[in-house]
Symmetry: C2
Amino acid sequence: MNMEKVNSMDFGEFVDVFGNVIERCPLIAAAVWSQRPFFDLEDLEKHFFAFIDALPQSGQEGILRCHPDLAGREQQRGTLTAESQREQSSAGLTSLSAEERQQLEKLNAQYRARFGFPFVLAARLSDRAAVPRELERRLHCQPAQELRTALGEVKKIGHLRLVDLLGADSSRLKLR
Amino acid sequence: MNMEKVNSMDFGEFVDVFGNVIERCPLIAAAVWSQRPFFDLEDLEKHFFAFIDALPQSGQEGILRCHPDLAGREQQRGTLTAESQREQSSAGLTSLSAEERQQLEKLNAQYRARFGFPFVLAARLSDRAAVPRELERRLHCQPAQELRTALGEVKKIGHLRLVDLLGADSSRLKLR
């Protein structure tokens, strides 16, 4: 998909395509449409990230709370978004042993209790061995620092989803 | 449901219950959870509305763009949210004649083209005869005024959804 196509979309098409760039937050894609036209992937992504950065802390925490646990209840129930299902699968989180799953459940619960939002990680950049290690490490971070770290992961996830939608070459398709 | 129950919810339960108070914007419920405890329905609603009011204009437009057209494509495809389906049905918008539907489709398209968001109306406070009249009237309003009007309708819809969830008596259940 090239940027001319993106810039020609009405808001309904745009939200259909980009509504889950930020997990379960179509509001953000719907807001970003106001900023069209977009020059390239980086320009489009910049508007998603600027919207996140401008939210009050409660809104930033709200974004995180729209994310599922890794290897959690939603994955077991089959109610993940298609994007999240693929990402968790690519990290091997859909084929954990019962023991690995229980360990993650326990860590996820501790993390949620400590920070008031779920542990968010760009799973495609990780793997089943690294996820619990990283969860344990971040569990001991300070809340303000951890909020920044988690939003950084939201942006990594969003970047990879945009690359999937636009194709790796899209960053070189300049309209300028 | 009383407010003690609401205030005891973790964020997952809270978003499951209140995630569609603002149509397809679970982010807002997820953000509002940060403001607990809530004293009563008005207090809870105040936080939803304050979040909306504090968004930049693009975010407010984004909320509107997460709403379906009245008697539109989504209703015909059966992809409305349960709440929206009930509301459109209660206004008689699910049993329009072909002619009435075509008239609304045309007006909805004109409205979207003029304002960049769909026509939003608290359907439960209207009916099939009043909807196209109100749409025609608002089609001629100034954009800044129309944005305010439309957000007022979002708040009316949210209020009625909260009353449904909490019960009409909830406004008198004070924890203070």
